[in-house]
């Protein structure tokens, strides 16, 4: 059952030199319920732009985005977003940051307690409830950022390079936690990353975008019928294949001469 349907979405804008630029061109993508889909591609290919369009944070030039067959106009309670550097509010404690969405929805603090406690537990933030973001490590902050999104119980979670600002080991443990949460919470996940290994390790499906204007170059399905380790041969092979496809670029035949 499809949750998110992206139909013929294009985005162009006028750049600083006053020339029209195409960021995305004719993107068609369907994401099924509970599916974990990653978008990878060279930098500047418009992956973050696509994510912001789906989030309703950026207007699209043409095309439509549907959530459960309903047109997405602007932001929606059913779509949560996790940002690159967590973007926690520095003046709020971790607990109050996680409660931000409920504060805005005017849910009384008393009723928030239980939910916040559950997600503090889920994201291993126990003992840090009353700390301020500046007192936490980058990995901790991103966990709080994820909790802030999940506590609102959205159907779909969009993540924009959420682990790019943390060190490698923290990133690995955050990835494992994300997989665990995806299993527990059964959210539909759209994940933007520039890290191909991360994409293949986490996702059911990887979408490769071409350089600007971004179009879908290729899709890779990953069969996850058994628990895969990071060093699983199929994953490593697939990552290599995607890497090769990126270097080949949009037009396979044109570049092949240079490669021989």
């Amino acid at each position: 059952m499809p949750t998110i349907r992206i139909q013929n979405v294009s985005k162009s804008y006028i750049n600083s030199e006053g020339e029209p630029t195409n960021a995305l061109s004719d993107i068609n993508l369907t994401i099924n319920e509970g599916e974990f889909v990653s978008i990878v591609g060279p930098s500047g290919c418009g992956k973050s732009t696509l994510l912001e369009i789906v989030a309703g944070l950026m207007p699209r030039t043409s095309g439509d985005v549907y959530l459960d067959d309903k047109l997405v106009e602007g932001t929606s309670k059913d779509i949560g977003v996790v940002f690159q550097d967590a973007s926690l509010y520095p003046w709020r404690t971790i607990k109050r940051n996680i409660g931000l969405g409920m504060d805005i929805a005017k849910i009384p603090r008393k009723e928030q307690e239980e939910k916040i406690a559950r997600y503090i537990d889920l994201m291993n933030l126990n003992g840090f409830e009353n700390k301020f973001p500046a007192q936490l490590s980058g990995g901790m902050r991103q966990r709080a950022g994820i909790a802030r999104t999940l506590v609102m119980n959205p159907k779909v979670v969009l993540m924009d390079e959420p682990f790019s600002a943390v060190d490698h080991l923290t990133r690995c443990s955050l990835q494992d936690e994300l997989l665990r949460i995806h299993k527990e919470e059964k959210k539909t996940l759209l994940f933007v990353t520039h890290d191909i290994n991360e994409a293949v390790y986490l996702s059911d499906r990887v979408i490769l975008l071409t350089p600007r204007p971004g179009t879908i170059q290729k899709e890779y399905k990953i069969k996850r019928d058994y628990e895969m380790k990071r060093d699983d041969v199929t994953l490593i092979e697939l990552a290599g294949k995607i890497m090769a496809d990126i270097t080949r670029g949009r037009d396979y035949n044109e570049n092949v001469e240079y490669m021989i």
């Binding site: 932001t75 977003v81 301020f132």
Partner: protein, 263 residues
């Protein structure tokens, strides 16, 4: 972490430089004392520190100082309070209603450009030489600094913070009060500190020009009577008040922001 750095700073050792600084100060005071007492420098031009202390003590004890001090403090607090309320308030009203900013900005910039001391004659004409004209002057001295600092602070709210608010479907008021106000706090406090010092300058100037009370009035009176020790005493007193006032705002800022700001 920040707290530890602070305490480390406080326990800083007394260095040779500190010693030299104290010696310089002492030398200056001794110079004033000796030169004035020996009559080499006229009492009209300089005051001996002991005379300054004596005059200051006398004024305090016989009750001449207190009404003037109170008058000035009252004017500063009222004028500054008004400029803070209007500056911060208008700043956020402009953020909420950008059309209003567009309309009002040119007028505010124009009034801001007028040297405030130049309109003192008009203010006296309109509001008399008492409390009211002083408040209006202090208000004009401070309000624009606070207004534009508030505005800049709010407008420099990180775009990511605003995106988070949009994702959670915050309305305009929520975005302003839950995101932009706290994000602008450091900048607002900056504006308050800047205008606190100028508020005192403004009020002393106004009192020197035309008033029946206040430290500025006391200053002019002492000058007319060639009472130089008293002039020195009032100058020192005004400086101390100015420092304390800024310190008060810094303390307030620290108690509000120190938990979440780095450094």
């Amino acid at each position: 972490m920040a707290g530890k750095v602070k305490t480390a700073k406080k326990r800083k050792k007394f260095t040779l430089i500190n010693l030299l600084q104290w010696l310089t100060l002492a030398a200056l005071l001794i110079f004033m004392q000796v030169e004035v007492k020996s009559g080499r420098i006229s009492k009209v031009f300089l005051a001996a520190p002991t005379d300054i202390i004596e005059k200051g003590y006398k004024m305090t004890v016989d009750g001449t100082l207190l009404p003037h001090l109170w008058a000035t403090v009252k004017e500063v607090l009222a004028g500054f309070g008004l400029s803070a309320a209007v500056g911060i308030g208008l700043g956020f009203i402009w953020v909420l209603f950008p059309k209003l900013e567009e309309y009002m900005n040119v007028f505010c910039s124009a009034i801001m450009a007028v040297p405030k001391t130049a309109i003192l004659p008009l203010l006296i004409l309109w509001f008399g030489i008492g409390f009211k004209s002083k408040i209006v002057l202090i208000f004009l001295f401070g309000v624009f600094t606070i207004l534009y600092n508030t505005l800049t602070g709010a407008k420099q709210t990180r775009i990511e913070y605003l995106k988070v608010a949009r994702v959670f479907e915050a309305n305009r008021f929520q975005t302003v009060f839950k995101v932009m106000v706290p994000a602008a706090l450091p900048s607002i406090f900056n504006g308050l500190k800047l205008s606190a010092a100028t508020a005192l300058t403004g009020v002393i100037f106004a009192e020197m020009q035309s008033a029946r009370e206040g430290l500025g009035y006391l200053l002019t009176e002492a000058q007319n009577n060639l009472n130089t020790p008293r002039v020195f005493f009032v100058i020192i007193l005004v400086t101390v008040i100015s420092v304390l006032f800024v310190k008060l705002i810094s303390t307030l800022e620290y108690s509000v922001c120190h938990k979440w700001t780095r450094v």
